[in-house]
Structure formats: structure tokens, C-alpha cells
């Protein structure tokens, strides 16, 4: 049974991700404008998850979704006002579900979700009933205690008590009752309080309702009688309690399952590791057609080869040429088609941010709206995954440092609600992502002063930095202007990591800012990482490749044009000073004779830095397939991979970000 189900594991996880995402989005929409359709959507998602997780034997999830479904049903029927408390509770339940999902995927121990469940109960005003799934779950230590008690022949019971409304000093009452229970029944294993029914209620109120799990030696009825005479108890309910065995105990009971898993550890690993893509069937059909055409061309090539053997080979040459051309165009189309199967709309990433902004706004006590445009823009799935962290960081910064508090905004003549706009669109061979906020902007003067104070720049450098250059200092390691470290951002490790992450994706990041008006971050990324346009250069007899995105310009200079500024070689390019180095020296290749009069230079740009590199020869540009250098070699920061050239040799692809910054 287990083995069969594991085949569906991937599908299940994928579906789970989809449904959780849908719930997330609908909840956000619900918060903005309540509608019964949205509630229906969330309900359906929860219902689907409940069904599929119980099929997969993922009980923790199906139990939790059961509760969520319950509350949604209540909302659907009773149509109460959608309060922020209700939304918060649902979000917390959703977070708990996400946590369970992560734990399910990684195969780790599940977190106890009882607090969320009881929160839902509290919201519904439903007392802790006798149903089994409303009883508190036990943590590891408690489970051991319970197991020991069961082992000793004792019976587990759950005692649910609701104190009278007018009972004074509920906390004290609670502890007295605990002692009584201990005296009447036996060992108290766990105590769980129900959270305050209304927010902001007296701390004492929390003790108004609680459930105790205890090991008992007496009959239920006897206990009921002995406890029932307390005048402060409004409601008393005693039921047998069934424990869920701890993992160890479970394993001991369920040996056949274990052996099945041990026998097939590889399958388990595969289930965890392989990401899947959904591909439009139309796209697949298109690929299939292209493969068909290729086969036809291959047949005609074979025919030509036989014809060439029979008669004069020279006569079939023109035909071979045309077949080759045709094949070339098919292959190109095939390449584009395959590439498209790796593409995902960037919405997959953007859709996570409304929730982030909502939580940030709440935490920072600001009013912020997030506008998303161009979510349909397609990008390589791998780039999308890698973009998540840098974008989260930028959004946090915008919310924390960019957008002012409502009071400041109003006094500055701006609407109280701050706005962050996230836009994405294609531009030539790139995808552009723009993050714009209408906050206070970045003050170049403050940045300069702070960088000076932290020793990132010298007094002299500060003198000739333009405002634009000063703003870019925020990308330097160890830079953070926030005077106090805030919870949201400002640990001073952020922006340089953002820059290096974007750089690793062969992207470029730019800042535009206007004090008082806002800040725009523009990220420019290649469409894919699997195939890139590369510039082939020759250095010390070796062919090296520079990604074309990073090549700003190719120039030829005569040696006299090289200047020495502060002991470093540099050239003047379009009126600015660009540091120059010899690629041969940079890569520690042996020095050779040079007999050309002019020196070919490649001007490389990465993120916001620029540098010129002298090479021996420029070969030209071509599309190259990026191959990994493998894990054995470890991290090589100066290389972003390798490719195989037409002559079968391996050529290394240099990492532009490394070149310009080392």
C-alpha cells in the first residue's frame, strides 16, 4: 500500500502546493472585499486538501483542514461579519498547513497544531466537545508519559472543564482544580488552556476553559461524581483519551511498512528531490511535430548518402546543404520550444508577495498596498526560484525604510496609504522586473556619511562620488543605514547579498531614487540560464566565454591609451574611467608574447560595476549550452560553468560578477 501511494506522492505535493497557494490568494482577496464566492473557493481548496491528504494517510493535515472546513462552513452559512480576527485565524491555520506540508516533504516530525485548532474553536464559540479530534495532542515528552501509563495498565482520560463566568480568580481556581484532579484520578499528563475568546481579554480569562489529560485508575463515573460537585464548574466533561503513539512506538508496531521503506530508500529520495513542471499539451504537441520533421530530414540525409555513394558525391552536395539548412531551422525551433517548457509566468513568484506586504504592513503599523503588473511575463523556472529571496528582501526594505508612517505621509502631502508597485515585462532578450515605492527615497548625503562612518569609502572617494554612485553604496557589504536594527530589515547583510544573487543569475540591478518621491529598483535578467549568448575570446591559447549580457562593449586600443591612475591601469571609455586588467594575469595564465599593435578589450558590466579586460583575440559570439562543472570541483566563484565547443573541447564560462569585483 505504502509503495503504491508513494508513486502519487509527487502529484499530491504538487496539488497541495496549488491549493495552498489558492487559499492564500483568496484569503487576501477576502480581506480586501468579502464575497461568498471567495469563501466558496477557499472552502473547495480546503476540502480538496482534506480529501487528498486523508487518502495519502497524512492525518495531521486532514484533521487540521477538517477544522478549517468547519469554520468556513460556519462563515458560509451564518454569514458573519468578516473580521480581521477571523482572517488572522484563517491565515494562522494556513501557515500551520504550510508548515505541515514542509514537514511532510522533508519527512520530519509534525508540529502540534492544537493551538490553531483551539483558536478556531474559540472563534466559533464552540466548547471543547467530546469528539476525539478536538482533544489536545500530546508533545513528545507527554506522549512518553502517556505510553508509560498505558503500559502500567492505567486508563487515559480527558477532563474538559469550563468555569463559571462569574468565577473570580480563574487562574487560582484552575490550579486548585488541577490538584484535585491529580488527587482524584492520578498523574496529570498534559494541560491545555483555551486561548481568550475575545482578544484583549483579561489574562485570567484564559484559565476559564481547559482540558486535562490524565492517567486514571478509577472508573469514569467515579471521577465524574467526585469532581462534579465543585460550585465553580459550569461544565464538566470526561471522556476516554486515545493517544497517538510516538514515532518510535509507531515504528515498532508497524514493522512491515518500515521494511518496505528501507528496501526502497532510493525511491524515497527521488520523491523528495525531483521538481516537476506542468507543460501545456499544445506545446508538447508542437515539440512532437518538430521531432517528426527532424526524422524526415534524417531519412532524406540517409538517402542522399546512398545516392552519393552510387554516383558522383559532388552532385549531391547542394542537396545536403539544403537539408542541413532545413534541419538547422527545425533544431532552432525545437530549442525554443524546449526552452518554453522551462518557462513559468512570474506570477508564480509575485503571488507570494501580497501576503508578505500585508504582514509587513501590520508589523510596521503602516498602510501599504501592493500593485502587481505583468504577472504573465514568462521566465525560466530556475530563475524564478532564485529570485524569491532577493525580491523579498527588496520588498522588506521598501516597506521598512521606503514607505513612511501614515502620519508622516499625510503631513508630506501624500496619501496615507503607501504604494509598492511590482512590474514585470519583456525587453529585447531580457526580462525586466521593477519594484517601485512612493516612499521617502534614498538620501545620497546620508548614505555617503554612513558609508564614510563605516569605513566603506574614504574621505577622498566621498568627495568625487556623484549622488547616483553614492546611492549604489547600499550594495556594499556591511552597509545599513537603519540606526537601530529592526525586526524587518536592517541587519546590514542584505543588499550586498541581493546584488550577488542577481549577479549570479547574470542579471543587473539599478536604483533610481528621488528624495521625498520614492525609489525604483530595476532588475534586468536573461530569459533563461540553460543557453546563453556568449562572447568567445582567446587568452593564452585557451578559449574562454563571457556571457554576452555582461559585455557592454568591445573596443580596440593602442598601448598608449592605457593610463595609470593611483597605480592601477585604466582607460577612458565614454568619458569615464574604467579599470583595466589583463585577463591572462587575472586568471594566472602564463604570460606570452604579444605582437599585435592594438589590444582588443572587452568591457564587462555586472550589476553596477564595470571593468575592461584585455584579451589576446576576440573570436566572436555564439549560443552556448551551459554545462555544470559538477559538485566535485566545489565552488568556483570565478566560473559560472562550462560548455562544449564545436571542436569537442570544453571551454570555461567566466563569471562576470567575479571578474569585475575581484
Amino acid at each position: 500500500m505504502m509503495m503504491e501511494l508513494s508513486a502519487y506522492r509527487d502529484i499530491f505535493i504538487e496539488e497541495l502546493n496549488d491549493q495552498l497557494e489558492r487559499m492564500d490568494q483568496s484569503l487576501l482577496a477576502l480581506e480586501q472585499s468579502p464575497s461568498s464566492e471567495l469563501i466558496q473557493t477557499i472552502f473547495r481548496a480546503a476540502h480538496t486538501i482534506k480529501g487528498s491528504s486523508s487518502t495519502m494517510g497524512f492525518k495531521e493535515m486532514s484533521d487540521l483542514t477538517h477544522e478549517v472546513e468547519y469554520i468556513l462552513e460556519w462563515v458560509r452559512e451564518k454569514k458573519p461579519k468578516i473580521t480581521s480576527m477571523l482572517i488572522d485565524t484563517l491565515f494562522r491555520a494556513l501557515d500551520a498547513m504550510k508548515l505541515l506540508r514542509t514537514e511532510y516533504i522533508s519527512g520530519s516530525e509534525y508540529t502540534n497544531c492544537s493551538s490553531v485548532v483551539s483558536e478556531i474553536k474559540a472563534l466559533l464559540g464552540k466548547p471543547a466537545g467530546p469528539e476525539r479530534n478536538t482533544l489536545p495532542a500530546l508533545n513528545a515528552a507527554e506522549t512518553l508519559l502517556a505510553e508509560a501509563a498505558v503500559g502500567a495498565g492505567e486508563q487515559l482520560i480527558a477532563v474538559s472543564i469550563t468555569l463559571k463566568e462569574d468565577c473570580l480568580m480563574k487562574a487560582a481556581r484552575h490550579f486548585i482544580l488541577l490538584q484535585r484532579i491529580e488527587a482524584v484520578c492520578g498523574t496529570v499528563i498534559s494541560v491545555s488552556l483555551f486561548p481568550a475568546v475575545t482578544q484583549g481579554a483579561d489574562e485570567d480569562e484564559r484559565y476559564g476553559q481547559f482540558t486535562v489529560v490524565a492517567a486514571a485508575t478509577k472508573e469514569l463515573q467515579v471521577i465524574q461524581d467526585q469532581l462534579g460537585d465543585d460550585s465553580d464548574i459550569q461544565r464538566l466533561h470526561i471522556a476516554p483519551y486515545k493517544i497517538k503513539f510516538s514515532k518510535e512506538a509507531e515504528r515498532m508496531i508497524d514493522t512491515p511498512e518500515v521494511s518496505a521503506q528501507q528496501a526502497n530508500p532510493k525511491a524515497e529520495e527521488r520523491g523528495k528531490g525531483t521538481p516537476t513542471v506542468r507543460v501545456n499539451v499544445e506545446r508538447l504537441d508542437h515539440l512532437m511535430n518538430l521531432v517528426g520533421e527532424l526524422l524526415i530530414q534524417q531519412t532524406s540525409l540517409a538517402d542522399l548518402s546512398t545516392a552519393g555513394q552510387r554516383s558522383d558525391p559532388a552532385r549531391v552536395l547542394p542537396d545536403i546543404g539544403s537539408v542541413s539548412d532545413h534541419m538547422g531551422s527545425i533544431i532552432k525551433e525545437l530549442q525554443e520550444g524546449v526552452m518554453k517548457t522551462r518557462m513559468l509566468p512570474i506570477d508564480q513568484l509575485f503571488s507570494r508577495f501580497p501576503r508578505l506586504v500585508r504582514d509587513l504592513a501590520q508589523k510596521l503599523d503602516k498602510d501599504i498596498e501592493l500593485l502587481i503588473q505583468g504577472g504573465e511575463t514568462e521566465l525560466d523556472r530556475m530563475i524564478i526560484e532564485e529570485l524569491s529571496d532577493p525580491l523579498i528582501h527588496l520588498i522588506r526594505n521598501s516597506a521598512d525604510h521606503g514607505i513612511e508612517s501614515p502620519a508622516v505621509r499625510v503631513s508630506g502631502g501624500k496619501p496615507a496609504k503607501g504604494r509598492i508597485t511590482l512590474t514585470s515585462f519583456h525587453e529585447e532578450n531580457h526580462v525586466v522586473i521593477r519594484l517601485e515605492d512612493d516612499g521617502q527615497g534614498i538620501d545620497a548625503g546620508r548614505i555617503k556619511a554612513s558609508a564614510l562612518g563605516k569605513g566603506i569609502i574614504t574621505e577622498e572617494q566621498a568627495g568625487y562620488l556623484t549622488a547616483q554612485e553614492a546611492v549604489h553604496l547600499i550594495f556594499e557589504p556591511g552597509f545599513s543605514t537603519a540606526s537601530a536594527v529592526s525586526e524587518v530589515s536592517g541587519r546590514g547583510v542584505g543588499m550586498d547579498i541581493v546584488r550577488s544573487q542577481i549577479g549570479r543569475l547574470n542579471g543587473i540591478i539599478d536604483i533610481g531614487t528621488e528624495p521625498g518621491k520614492g525609489t525604483v529598483f530595476t532588475i534586468r535578467l536573461p530569459l533563461t540560464l540553460a543557453i546563453i549568448k556568449g562572447l568567445l575570446v582567446k587568452v593564452a591559447g585557451r578559449v574562454l566565454i563571457l556571457p554576452m549580457y555582461n559585455v557592454a562593449e568591445i573596443v580596440r586600443i593602442v598601448p598608449e591609451e592605457i593610463q595609470v591612475v593611483q597605480g592601477e591601469q585604466a582607460i577612458i571609455n565614454h568619458g569615464r574611467i574604467v579599470p583595466l586588467s589583463w585577463l591572462r594575469d587575472k586568471l594566472h595564465y602564463p604570460r606570452g608574447e604579444r605582437n599585435t599593435k592594438t589590444i582588443p578589450l572587452v568591457i564587462v558590466r555586472s550589476v553596477d560595476k564595470i571593468a575592461a579586460f584585455a584579451v589576446d583575440e576576440i573570436i566572436g559570439n555564439q549560443e552556448v549550452v551551459i554545462k555544470s562543472l559538477g559538485a566535485y570541483l566545489g565552488t568556483l566563484n570565478h566560473l559560472s560553468g562550462a560548455t562544449i565547443l564545436g571542436n569537442g573541447r570544453v571551454a570555461l564560462i567566466l563569471d562576470a560578477a567575479y571578474l569585475v569585483s575581484h
Partner: protein
């Protein structure tokens, strides 16, 4: 030791020494290819080669065993081994043959040559002794 005795080994020459690799760990043996060197890599990493479209890292077994490099000859081979889910090439001076050993002794220790642990055992055939390499140690160390 009984499992080791039944196994087949590839016997190869590195400098004056003859050693062996378990045939199970060998993916293929190829002639010398043109190697692309990698800047800033360890000395024993000779570079990468194109193994039918796959980029494979090649190492000098001479260097790994503490010997210096010699120019490659017509007998030089790359023994491609499987190591932690990837292929790694080992450059050897010569590949002798596939063989089995009648007797395998536990590896000797404490010779003070800094090479403890690189051998799984010592294979004996007639009066010849051959060290069986422990790839995990050589490549992972």
C-alpha cells in the same frame, strides 16, 4: 575479506607503483583527451574533459598519491570512476589488465609516508603485492 577476493580489479601503473581499483567503481577507460585547465584549482585537478557531452573533471592519480607529474605518453589513460553520483577521471600512466587476487591482506599501517587509509587492502598474486585503492579516501580526502 571473502567478498573482496571474488571481485575483479583493474590493475594500473602509477610511477613505479602498481595499484588496483575495484572494477565496480570504474565506469570506463579512455585514451587521453584534450584537457581544459581550470584556473585557481588545486594542483591535482588537471582540468575538465568532454566525455560525450558531459563535462568531467580529471585528476592526476600521481599527484593524489604524492608523486609529481610526468609528461603524458601513448600509454596514458583516463580511468573514469563513479564517485558520489558523478564521474571523475583519474589520469594513470598505464592500464595493465583486469584481474582477481587469490589473497587479500589488510592494509599495512604506520609506514609514515602519509598515505594511511588510501588502500582498501593489499592484493597478492603469487609473489606480487598490489595496493587496492580506496577511492572515497583518495578523492574525498
Amino acid at each position: 575479506m571473502s567478498t573482496l577476493q571474488k571481485e575483479q580489479y583493474i590493475e594500473l601503473a602509477v610511477g613505479q607503483e602498481t595499484c588496483a581499483i575495484r572494477i565496480e567503481e570504474v565506469h570506463e577507460i579512455i585514451k587521453m583527451l584534450s584537457i581544459t585547465d581550470i584556473p585557481f584549482s588545486r594542483n591535482e585537478v588537471k582540468g575538465v574533459v568532454n566525455l560525450r557531452g558531459k563535462v568531467v573533471c580529471v585528476m592526476s592519480l600521481r599527484n593524489l598519491l604524492g608523486m609529481s607529474d610526468e609528461p603524458y605518453t601513448r600509454a596514458t589513460r583516463i580511468v573514469v570512476v563513479r564517485y558520489r553520483d558523478e564521474f571523475v577521471g583519474l589520469i594513470v600512466d598505464k592500464v595493465n589488465k583486469v584481474t582477481t587476487y587469490g589473497e587479500i591482506h589488510p592494509p599495512s599501517t604506520g609506514q609514515g609516508r602519509g598515505r594511511e587509509g588510501v588502500f582498501l587492502g593489499i592484493g597478492q598474486r603469487e609473489d606480487q603485492l598490489i595496493g587496492i585503492l580506496k577511492l572515497e579516501e583518495i578523492l574525498g580526502g
